[in-house]
Symmetry: none
DNA sequence: CAATAATCGAGACGGTACGTCTTGTCTTGGC
DNA sequence: GCCAAGACAAGACGTACCGTCTCGATTATTG
């Protein structure tokens, strides 16, 4: 019974030459290199094609533009990351989560991420892709921490979830895009402390 | 006895034809219109020149590129704005300040500002100019509110000023550039409330 | 046994999209029109691109500048021309050849040719191309007339070929570029007469 | 009797600051240097102004454009030149005159002259100025030689003067602008010999 | 095994903005 | 009124990148 593996939703092997996985990986690898070396703007589709040994047509066939490739390249170089700390203390969980985020922001990939955020201001498709694939997962994580903290009675039960997440992540993003203050562990701790205890006496 | 005074502050009219204030204003006005109509990216230096009745050469003589013109145009259309509320209550001052900021972010100019922040991710000069001329003044304002609140005993005296400002402004910037949640008065109030009281019980 | 022949003359279709002959012709046609309508200097690469329905990039890909396009356009609009008269009389051959040249100089194309000669004074590449493709063929023609005349005993056998050709063509070029005297059949005849018989009694 | 020297036709010293002879000379000197160093096309009015210590406005006040300045600069650096040899032999006179011309063509100034001829193909004013001030005087010289030769019975009395002059000078101009053959004494002698004796046996 | 069909690399193409350059004019204050 | 300094409008230049296209070659499924 030649089921020739499908099982899932995809249309059980169409006719014609199948997409080359090798090309896909070569494009992502080349994009990864280039976006770190020269930045998203200076990186050209042409150069991705040359370095990956593929062609512009192939790239444009599978991605709408270089920024979409960059999103995927950035994702594939992060992979398994940012898992839920769940230490039993919301404050500690926040600290670990925010330190992780800020560490990412401060890394080479963080620079690329900032450029993607920059580009997203001009292109709604990139904005959507960013929100879904890079921002959303982080927020989900903090949402879980939040819920546990409320359940344990550590945090206020009347919290506006979204606003609360923004209180923790907002300052980091602000520093990333405005660059007015450093992004380091001390900053992470200070922000978490303030967010937990509040500004008032 | 009219001493042929020189050596003062301004260079007392240098030789040559002076810069045309009329051209400068026409360029800023045309840029203002265009950046709101079509966005920073689609706006071209050529069109600024045409609409302002000046020339590309003149624009490039005084600004490095269209984004620098946009920064100045955005500033000159805001001008006297965002003055210190000083209501006697830090919470109230924060609410007013953040509502003001968020109102700006939600306006037409806010979209342009977001695009400038986006462009700043690629150009350090624009980043610097933004920080100095658009971000800095707002932060200065909140710093004053903060100091008064501490002096009055409303706010904790051990506050890290910068982190505290980020706690108030960060979430707004986060929403502006990531667009995952609305920017309205309710959001401003929720954020200020959280920031003041903290997440903890 | 169909040897997969390569190594022959033409490269047997290289990879990639082949050059569009249609674009090439459209560019030459547009250039032809423009150079006659407005002259070489006023004609712009942009206008060639617009009128031909191509793009500046395509033009610059195949020609170094508009003057090189003009050389080719001028050639392609002349093509089969100036064939050897060979009447049996050197004097008659010279007359026909010089009348032909002078007729060309006096035509619309002659004005463009003069402008190309003018431009060649500033650009060695154009100078070389002109010499090879527009001047050389004419000289070859007169050289043949000359040789036949010597063989028939009409002309002196000790002639310096190059100087002799210059004696016939030089005055015409002189009048073309200096414009001090008319270019007509009478001029052609007078010059040939003088060149054949000499100034001396 | 305050005649304050005038005597001639000029309007006996007008009011206001008179034209600065120093500036005029400085402009001509700077133009001379530049046109030889970089060529007419690359030379800019701006650079003439800088090097001469004058200003563009001054240059444009007294000359229509840089080519007109170049004509005057070229003239002023030649000055007393090309006087009539008058050896008693037309052939010898022609030889000396043509050698002189060809020597000029082969000099640094000859290159500039060729560029002026080139520019004249686009600008009738320059063409006129060239004809009057640089070409005409040479032709006048040969015309005198010609007349003496006819009077002495050396040359044919039915000569078309203009065509005859072209026969002597044409080949040199042809070589100057087309560059297909050398410009040296041997060339001068060969051309004069051919022109005098003719191509026929 | 041939026909069909989709992918691939190469590279030409139309479109368009960029930032630079030169031209010739103008507007200052000083001489 | 002339001059040096230098700003200005106009507009062509040649380069660069984008996203699309047209080739011939390749690689799978289908009949």
């Amino acid at each position: 019974m030649a089921v020739s593996r499908s099982g899932q939703g995809q249309p059980r092997s169409r006719p014609g030459r199948p997409r080359s996985e090798q090309s896909r990986l070569a494009v992502l690898r080349a994009t990864s290199e280039l976006m770190h070396e020269v930045g998203l703007r200076v990186m050209t589709t042409e150069e991705i094609a040359n370095r990956s040994g593929t062609s512009k047509a192939t790239i444009y066939k599978w991605w709408p533009n270089k920024y979409a490739v960059a999103v995927e390249a950035l994702l594939s170089e992060m992979l398994t990351e940012s898992d839920d700390p769940d230490t039993g203390s919301a404050r500690e969980d926040f600290r670990i989560a925010l330190r992780g985020l800020i560490h990412f922001y401060g890394s080479r990939s963080g620079r690329v991420f900032a450029q993607l955020v920059g580009e997203a201001q001009f292109d709604p498709l990139i904005a959507a892709e960013l929100r879904e694939r890079l921002v959303g997962s982080r927020r989900q994580l903090v949402r879980a921490i939040l819920d546990r903290g409320v359940a344990r009675g550590e945090l206020r039960r009347d919290l506006d979830s979204e606003a609360a997440i923004d209180l923790v992540f907002g300052p980091a993003m602000y520093r990333l895009v405005a660059g007015h203050a450093p992004l380091d562990d001390a900053a992470a701790d200070a922000i978490v402390d303030l967010a937990i205890r509040g500004l008032a006496c």
